[in-house]
Every structure is written in C-alpha cells, then in structure tokens.
Symmetry: C2
Subunit: 434 residues, 2 copies
C-alpha cells in the first residue's frame, strides 16, 4: 500500500490487559514512540466487543465494528489482541488485504494458520509480526528469524509455558501434589479457571510449532507436534528426580537431523547444572543451539499483560519503521518443507521406575526386557520396601519406539506391580541432536 500523508495510524483490536497497556503507550508516550520510529504515530481506533468508555481514550476512537476499522484503508498497522481463531483470522486477513501491516499476540492462530498468513503478508507486501505469541517479552522470535538467519539452528529447547513451570516449581519446593499447586497457581493468577490448554502441554506445543518453523525455515503443521502434559506428575516423581540430581520441567524441543525435523513437548528430568534448571516460577527460558553461534540462552518473564505489551510495542515500532522506509518488509515465506521425523525415532535417555516383588531373579527378568529391545542401561537403583522393591533405571540413549516397547514388556511381567513410569532425561549439553 502507498502510504497516505500524515502520521502513521495504528488500529487496536481488543482492549484487555495488553490492549489497554498498548493504548496507554500510544497515547501517553506518543512522542517517545514517534522518535523511535522516525515519524509521528497515532492511535486511529480501538475495536471493542461491547460499547463502553475507555479511560483516557477519546470516545470517537472506540468502535464495536472491528471489520469497518480494519477496512478503512488508511490504517498502517493493525494490532490484533482479541485472541482465538475467529473473528481474529478474518480481521487480520482483511487488514493485510487492505494494505495494513499486522502485529498479533495470537499464538493459537499463528500456530495453526501461520504459514497461510505469511503467504498473504508476502503477497500483499505488508509486515506481519508476532513476537508476543511465544515467551511473552523474551525476544526469541526475532533472534531466530533475523539474528540467526545466516546460521544453521540445530535444536531449540525451551520452557515456554509459565503456568506449568510455576506448578512444577511449586511442587518441587513444597513437596505437594499437582492439584494443590494448580490451585495455588489459579489463586495467584498464573493459571486460568480451565487450565486444560496449559497443563495438557497443548499451549507449549503451539509455541514449539512456531519456534520450529522460524528456526528451521520450514512449514510445520501444528498437528504434527506431539505433546504430553504434567497432570500425571506426582510428589513421588519429584522426589525421584531430586534424588538423582534432577528437576522435572515441561520441556518443548524441536530439532533437525538429516532425517528431518521433529517438535515435541513432554515433561523431562533436567540436570540441576543445566541452564534450563534455573528457570523458576512462571518464567520462560529458551536454549538455542546453532552451528556457528553455539549455545544461546534467553530467559525472562513468559507472560503477564505488561510483559506481553512490551513485545507487542516492539513489533509495532518495527513495522512502523518499515512503513516509513517503504511499503514494509514482508516476512519471508517458509522456503522449505523439510520431512518430519516421527517422535518414535527420536532418541534420548530415559528414567524408568516401577514397583516389583522383592524376590530373587526379578532384576534379571526386568533387565532382559530392556536387552530384548536393544536398550542398554546406564544405572540401576533398587530399594527394598518390605514385600516390594522399587526399581529405578536410567537407560543409555534409545529411541522412543524402543522404550515404548520396553515399557509394554515390563508391564506384562508378573513381578512388576502397578504402572511402569518413564520420563525422558534432558541430554547433557552438546549431546547430539536426535
């Protein structure tokens, strides 16, 4: 779109916590933002669901007709903060087709429609930015997309869901249950009334899809990110982890091997000396491994309206700057469609634990199952508990498929009592991707 004369015009869709903070910046700090952009910037309108008065905002700027606002034709940047799929998707599409650049914090939409939205932005020659969609204020998408664009990223490992990190951290500190920690997270505002999206791992999976696409410059359907949540983690698992020098966290990983890319989310044992072990409370932390840059760690607040507004404003300033310079730099389309490697082929070390009857020959039966599926053992710990014993084994690197078979085999042994529990161990740093 050819810019019309006058200041850059910004339209806001949504006036929740992040929207209100963004509006406050655009009205209260317009001079500062204009200086950063190199041209005057102004709030051109805010779309809200129900008509209401917004503190500090001229009533004539407020509308309930979001579609009319984004189709006006004189908007430079639309900031979408409604969330969800519709009407966000239609509004963003209309905005770009009308020539506006778009900033969004909508993780779900970008995770599921990001490839199409990049395509529309590219076709229209407008900007599309969504730093706030992953890890709140922690700038990680721009580094992946720009700073490391000339490098080759091999793996991204991250704690990208603050709710689950808070819950696991609380369980670790207090020794309490998942339910107790969840209630505390809800009380403190770190978890929603319906926490399913967070505790199931689905939220982290959406973020890993976005990270993997930008890291590996490839399309990656959100449906192909396998995830497992934390609802089954109990105080016993936490205690086991501590005894072995680990902490349990919900970890998202995406990596690239010659066989393809994989992205996944599941709880993992993290060695205490690993940088991700230090990511506490509701923080987010992301470790990027690249061929030339080596290991880069990003750490900060993962959520919260104020932190998210920082990322939104950063994107807004950048897209505005681009509009001053020209029509705007559209995001690159994903230039490859790398093959996807199934989780079953991903290798790693596992911690496997179970209760067994405490009698001669049990260890031999158990270890035979591992051997049968080609999984070798690094350590074995046995603790007698009267008529039962608890066995905790750590494997050498083995594929997910092999370990799944081992667990089925163990469960079928008469000497094994109850469930066989397994959890992946985050590799030593510098361990090969795979």
């Amino acid at each position: 779109m050819k810019r019309t004369a006058g200041p850059l015009r910004v339209a806001l869709l949504g006036h929740g916590t992040v929207g209100a903070e963004t509006a406050r910046a655009l009205t209260g700090r317009a001079a500062e933002l204009s200086a950063r952009i190199g041209a005057p910037v102004e709030l051109a309108g805010i779309a809200v669901r129900r008509p209401r008065t917004l503190p500090g905002i001229d009533g004539s700027l407020v509308t309930t007709d979001a579609h009319a606002l984004v189709s006006r034709g004189d908007i430079d940047v639309v900031v979408e903060l409604i969330g969800g799929m519709e009407p966000a998707r239609s509004l963003i599409t209309t905005a770009m087709e009308t020539g506006a650049s778009v900033v969004t914090a909508n993780k779900a939409l970008i995770a599921s429609e990001g490839v199409d939205l990049h395509h529309i932005a590219r076709k229209q020659g407008v900007g599309l930015a969504y730093e706030a969609a992953v890890a709140g204020a922690v700038p990680v998408l721009r580094p992946l997309r720009q700073s490391l664009a000339g490098d080759r990223i091999q793996r991204v490992t991250g704690i990208v869901n603050g709710t689950t990190n808070f819950i696991l951290d609380r369980m670790t500190r207090s020794g309490g249950t998942f339910q107790g920690a969840l209630h505390e997270a809800q009380r403190l505002g770190y978890a929603e009334a319906d926490p399913t999206g967070d505790v199931s791992g689905a939220d982290a999976a959406a973020k890993m899809a976005i990270l993997a696409r930008l890291a590996f410059d490839t399309e990656l359907p959100i449906e192909r990110v396998q995830f497992e949540g934390i609802t089954h983690i109990g105080p016993g698992d936490i205690a086991h982890a501590e005894a072995g020098g680990y902490v349990i966290k919900l970890v998202g990983t995406c990596d690239r091997t010659p066989d393809g890319v994989n992205a996944r989310v599941h709880p993992m044992l993290i060695p205490l000396e690993h940088p991700l072990a230090g990511v506490r409370g509701a923080d987010n932390g992301i470790l990027v491994e690249a061929r030339a840059a080596g290991e880069l760690m990003f750490h900060g607040a993962g959520a919260g309206g104020l932190a998210t507004s920082s990322a939104v404003l950063g994107d807004l300033v950048e897209l505005c700057r681009d509009r001053v310079a020209g029509p705007g730099t559209a995001p690159a389309e994903f230039s490859q469609v790398l093959p996807l490697r199934p989780l079953a082929q991903v290798a790693g070390r596992y911690h496997v634990s179970m209760f067994v009857t405490d009698e001669p020959g049990v260890l031999s039966q158990v270890s035979a199952v591992f051997a049968e599926h080609g999984v070798s053992l690094e350590t074995v710990r046995q603790e007698g508990l009267g008529p039962q014993a608890q066995l905790a084994l750590v494997t050498h690197r083995a594929t997910d498929a092999a370990v799944t078979e081992v667990i089925a085999g163990l469960a079928a042994l008469p000497c094994v009592l109850g469930t066989v529990r397994s959890i992946r161990i985050l590799g030593h740093r510098k361990e090969p991707v795979g």
Copy 2:
C-alpha cells in the same frame, strides 16, 4: 540507491577468521541464504591486504584495492571485517555514500564513530548493522534496538568481555594469581599477546557505550564511559568474595535515572544466586531491565571467529532482505541527547577491606570515618591476625563520591595499615537504578 537487476552483491573487506567463515557461507551455502533472503545473493569481491590465493574462492574476486571495491556502485552490502579506525572508517563511509548497506563487527569504530555513522546511513537511506560488535553471537543489539523499542529500558548489566571473565573464573577455580590466569588465557587463545585493551576494561567500556546508546536512544560519547580493569585483583580479593557468598566479575552497567544516564565498567562482587554469577569461562551474559518486559537475560559465547560470523551473517541476511523490499531501512538516528550523570553520583553498596592494628578503639575510629561521610554500614567482620586484624565492611547504598572520601579518610588513619581496598557489590535484583 536504486538496485540494479540481478542477484544481491556482497563485498567482503578482510579475510581473517570471521571473513573466511563469512566467505565460506556465501559460496557454500548461497542457496540456503538466498532462500532466507528471498532473492539470490552472491559474493562480489573480497578485499585483502596482500595479494594471495584464498581457498575455494575464484581468484578474480580477490583484490587488494578495497576502495575500488566499495566504490564500484553495484554492491548491495559491504561487510567490513578489517577492524581498527582507518581505513575501516573511510571505506564504510564511501560504501554508504555509494549506496551500499554496511555490516561491521568493528566495535572500536562503532563505539567512537557510531553516532556519525548512523547519521550518514540515515542520510543515504542505507542499512547499517553491527550485532557482532557486542557479545559475539549473542543477539542483544537487535533486541534492544527492535524488540524493546516500545518499552523503556532502565538498566543493562553485562559481562561483555570474555577474556577478563575467563581470567577471573580461572582465578576463582584455582585460587591462583592474575598473572597465572592471564598466561593460561593467552595459551588457550582467550587473551591476546598484548591484553591491555581487555584487562584494562577499555574493551568492555566500548561495548557499554554501544549498548547504552541503543538502550536509551541517546548519543553517548565513548570518552564518558568510566572504566576500571582487573589487573589489581588478587587471590585475597577472590577469597574474600567467596567467604561472603560472592564471585568477582568485570561488570559493565548503564542505567537511566531522571538525572541522566551513566555507563561504567568495573569489577564487582556478584551474589552467587544472581543470574550473571553463572556466566562462566569466556562466555558473555547480559541482563536487561525494562519497565514492561521486566528482567531479560541473554547468555552465550562472547567471541570466537565462528560465533562472530553467525552475528555477521544474521546482519547480512537482514540488510539483504531490506534491499529486496526497498532501498533498505536505515538505522534510526539517536533521537535524544540525555544528560550524563557522573559516576560520582552513582549509588551502590560497597565491600571495603583493610588491615588494621589490633588494639582497642580501632573499630570506633574506622566507623567514625564512614559516619562522617554519611555512609552507613550493613555488616562488619573483623578477624585477628596476631598484631594485625583484617576488617571487612559492607556499606548500605552510598554514592561513589562518598565512598571515595571514606577511603581517603581511612587511608589517613594511623591504625590503618597498607592499602584500603574497595569493590562495588552488584545490587540485589530489583534494586532501584542509581
């Protein structure tokens, strides 16, 4: 400059470690880089000091006439990897005046001439990027300049010199002397034959000038960054630090208060639980505190040819993308000239230690000097050593000026033997800027 047709043309100035790595990427991974950029990219020439054959590079691309190369008029991006002031400065200027965008890793030049170079880039409408000049591959300039452009940065605290961090880390682990650790750093390639620029703090000061400018969007002359090095740090200081739960590191800080901005570099005691305490070996780590984003930590390899080439290639891809979209997004000029706050006014906590004669009344004389200058004490530790005692005191927050007067006053006391040593303590997190 109007782009001529055909692929984007890149000229390299210098073929050392970083230059060779960059050339290798441009020749060996041209297809991958072109996909990232959205247009074909090619190596158009390499300027070297003395005529020689470069492995894997077509001889016709190699020239000793750097000036002719940058003035050709068909170059899209010049990558300057010569270092130093001249001829780097003239070549960069000529390149921009001829319409090329410029990537440089030249920290000294950007620190001393950055404001002018931004101005030229802006006037010519070309790009200028220098992520590699600070913290090697750790992407920190782009986050400051873009991701946090809508936020208000309050303080940046960083370990930005890998050589001194390696030396202090080694002294801490081995209990050895500065000279011993320096020799080991030299043997391992972490320190140059003449280590003055690193161990004096001058290198870190140049980086802090660059960081402060981008963080606060203000001009800041390199001459106004006060710095102190690590050559006077001995095993006794390290032991003292350890006893108090600290580690000594060379820390650069820049902050903004209503009174103005300040940037400085000096050794500091860092509490072991502080995230910067975990920055080991030759790594770099930078903690950014912003109003909305909160605390953000960036951590990775600070130097090395391969890591630096990652940052150079990231800048190169970004500036090439901009050229595809239009004439290129010029860097913002610094929009403010904030007042500079002298170091004397900066407040913090101090660790002060000295040997005193072990007789009654000494502690009273010593504490009277602190009181006289309005400096209150947090803790006092005294250890008898025969006829002498060692006193170690920690102050509450006091200005640099007040502590300087306290130290002069202490040195004048007859009961104080030898030198009074003082070292700043890195504030608890969330401590007010100032």
